[in-house]
Amino acid sequence: MLVTWRYRPRGSVIEKVDPRARWIYSFMVLLSLTQFWDIRFLLCFLGVVLVQYALARVTWAETRRGWTFILIFAVGIVALNTLFTGRGGPGEVLQGGHVLWRTDWRVLGLAIHPTITVERVWFAVSQIVRMVSISGLFLIIPYTMNPRHYGVTFRSMGVPDRFAFSMDLAFRFVPTLARDFNTTLDAQKARGYEVEKLEGGLIAQIRKMAPLVVPVTMNAILSGEEITNAMDLRCFGTRLRTWVHELHYRRMDYVLMGASVVVLVASLVVRYGLKIGTFWVPGWALAWAGG
């Protein structure tokens, strides 16, 4: 059975906003934010995200696991990509730069020369700010958006019934998978399985994950089939459906959507019209590296 995210009414301003307006706002800010590599602009967006976070009245305890995952993921990706390979960013980060540290490592007989430059470090910091801002923008949605409205939100944004209801199901799939995973983990622990003791090479380790991965995957597939059957039995998809919940825009929703469009247009003008906002390293950092 699908479980919902831990939504509870918090009486916050954010919850009073129409969910469609919130999606539109979130995507507009996302699009605007991704125009920039200049940390000064990115920090402004981070500020917006933090304000939204404060308004949502979501506690740290509720989102701690989410943030831990995001930070580990972001730092991991950035460390790997930016510092060592230098990929995934504007060209100027790749070549040259002010060297901080040069290495000569050998891994599996291959010579690897990750060169840490001021530019790369600064780029890594900018990228983390960017990733954290994007995550923060969307992380609070499950905590503050009424699950009753998931489907109808997409439907009234013009998406077909099938797709809109799929979105509703997809949202609930994630916490359901987490619950099933925990149940399976408990069931296998009760059979003496110790996930902490995974040993051997990569393939051996993956094989040893089978007791967790197989039941969880099979359950997901089977429950997908069951949901399809249950939906078929109640005529889903036979004609254009009614949605029992209705959404109504209010003045503040129009204001928010208008402001989001203005931010996007402004961002595009600044970035492509004025050509401001590309990757930037502060002068003091270059000076410190001896540049």
Binding site: L2, T4, D168, A190, D232, C235
Partner: protein
């Protein structure tokens, strides 16, 4: 049977169906009529074709399951094969075995409205019909609750409301009692009777035959290997069927068993009352600081020789309690000692050497390519040597009567078989204490009696604990009864001590059965509780 009457809600003639992936037909030459306001009980062993029959009627065959079908199914004179799903689902409402598998809405209102939304009924009418249906079922107060937070009985009613809101004239109920405590099951049954009396034609598939007999089904169909073994009234069924195969009312079994040789049952686990294996010391538990306590000051000891049946309502805290013994949950306050050691200091894997715990749902643990490998997983984790693992796997397969399936993939087996494999997988670990959560749910009577007999007669366990909603299972096997109610232990003692207090039982949502009544009656002679066959010979 003659040709179909067009006024009949349901008319089946010469129905045979074979799933494309199977060699043998799941149903053979089945003919039946279901009248308006009739309540038909369909029973049979696991895999007898009950579910297939339902799928043929509600359109899931051939829509979702392919195969070869012959014969006809007519609903009000119309052949179902020519009907659209939209038409069919307004005539036929289906309640699947597990309400968890049926509920698609995140909130009760959405769930009940789902079918009507799909039929594009206007919004105001949907809301009116949802309220009307919820009110009819007496659950209007649940309207704005999240579906996943409901209790088992509530989920069942909500799923039923979802089907009823579409105002079907035929209702198919697939083992609707499987996950309910006995009081909820009684409520549900009374409701089905009321629906039938209001004119709905009901086909009720159920293993718990005795429970259904109490609401007076108009007809009974008993299937064996896909063929009708009996079709007639309830009275005739009691005479026609073997009481080893179907659980019949205790007085019937009692009388008939007298003519049979005395059954042999000698429990290997015997009370000695000395060694303490597990002890709960003022245990309080809550999942989250913001949520209420699930266990409230539990003090409880499992001693060597105990066969404990744990009974209580859905959501009373039975599973939570048992998980503490293994250290899967740690007490919020108080402590749990396993062989004298605090479970906080033990890993679950360490505790698993002493306690074997069978989870409720087998699909959450089965993963191996073959049944043998599945069974070897636990003992290998515990470091048993290869020869011992091999011996224990064979032994465990014999106990659950699954030796022929040693090389089959467990994931391809039926639910009942998977459940037995999940029990065998824990048996093979040779733990001192065996704990089983609802071991008989979704199993047919013959099979579960066979494996419970085998487990309890097998030497090797110091204690056996099982959680169940089946009072008769507790009467038949336990030497100690624990009633759990609202996170506390409401009663703990021998069957004779606990079962005499009917008010207490009802407060814990345990409804007395005919076997309980018979045992209470004979208690002055027997001094203990037992199943009807044994009782017949004990008083003779």
């Amino acid at each position: 049977m003659g040709p179909c009457d067009n006024a009949l809600p349901l008319c089946v003639r010469e129905l045979t169906f074979r799933y494309r992936i199977r060699e043998q037909p799941a149903l053979r030459n089945l003919s039946l009529d279901l009248h308006q306001g009739e309540l038909m009980l369909v029973a049979g062993t696991s895999g007898c074709g009950k579910t297939t029959l339902m799928r043929c009627i509600n359109g899931l065959i051939p829509r979702s399951y392919r195969g070869e079908q012959s014969g006809s199914i007519r609903i009000f004179g119309e052949d179902v094969r020519g009907m659209s799903m939209a038409w069919l689902s307004q005539k036929v409402g289906t309640l699947l075995q597990d309400p968890e598998r049926q509920i698609v809405g995140s909130y009760v209102l959405n769930e009940v409205a789902f079918g009507l939304e799909n039929l594009a009924v206007p919004r105001h009418e949907i809301l009116a019909r949802v309220d009307e249906t919820l009110d009819f079922l007496g659950i209007l107060k649940l309207r704005d609750r999240e579906t996943f937070s409901l209790s088992g009985g509530e989920k069942q009613k909500v799923a039923l409301a979802g089907a009823l809101a579409m105002r079907p004239q035929i209702l198919l109920l697939d083992e609707p009692l499987a996950s309910l405590d006995s009081a909820s099951a009684q409520d549900a049954l009374a409701l089905f009777r009321r629906l039938a009396d209001s004119g709905v034609a009901i086909m009720l598939v159920e293993h718990r035959v005795e429970d259904v007999l109490r609401i007076g089904p108009d007809t009974v169909l008993y299937l064996r290997d896909g063929e009708p073994a009996y079709f007639g009234d309830a009275e005739g069924m009691m005479q026609a069927l073997d009481y080893h195969e179907v659980k019949l009312p205790a007085p019937v079994v009692f009388e008939r068993a007298k003519a049979q040789p005395a059954p042999r049952f000698e429990a290997a686990v015997k009370p000695d009352g000395q060694e303490t294996l597990v002890s709960f010391d003022h245990v309080i538990f809550r999942y989250d600081p913001a949520l209420p306590d699930v266990l409230r000051d539990v003090n409880f000891t499992i001693r060597k020789g105990d066969v404990v049946a744990m009974l209580g309502a859905n959501g009373a805290g039975k599973t939570t309690l048992v998980k503490h013994a293994l250290g899967l949950l740690k007490p919020t306050e108080g402590r749990v000692l396993l062989e004298g050691r605090d479970t906080r200091e033990l890993s679950v894997a360490q505790a698993a050497r002493t306690v074997g715990y069978v989870f409720q749902s087998p699909s959450q643990m089965l993963f191996a390519p073959t049944v043998s490998e599945e069974l070897a997983f636990g003992p290998r984790n515990l470091g048993h040597d290869r020869e011992q693992v091999r011996r224990d796997v064979v032994w465990a397969l014999d106990v659950v009567n699954m030796r022929d399936y040693a090389d089959s993939p467990p994931l391809a087996l039926s639910f009942g078989q998977q459940k037995r494999i999940s029990i065998a997988a824990v048996l093979a670990m040779r733990s001192r204490i065996l704990m089983m959560d609802e071991p008989t749910a979704g199993q047919d009577y013959w099979n579960y009696t066979a494996f419970m007999d085998a487990i309890l007669q097998m030497p090797g366990f110091d204690a056996v604990i099982f959680i169940t909603h089946d009072l008769d299972l507790a009467i038949s096997y336990a030497n100690r009864i624990v009633l759990v109610s609202d996170g506390q232990i409401a009663a703990d003692g021998s069957p004779a001590e606990v079962f005499v207090d009917e008010t207490l039982l009802l407060r814990c949502r345990v409804v007395p059965t005919s076997l309980l009544k018979l045992n209470t009656e004979k208690l002055p002679v027997t001094g203990t509780f037992m199943r009807a066959e044994l009782l017949a010979h004990a008083v003779a």
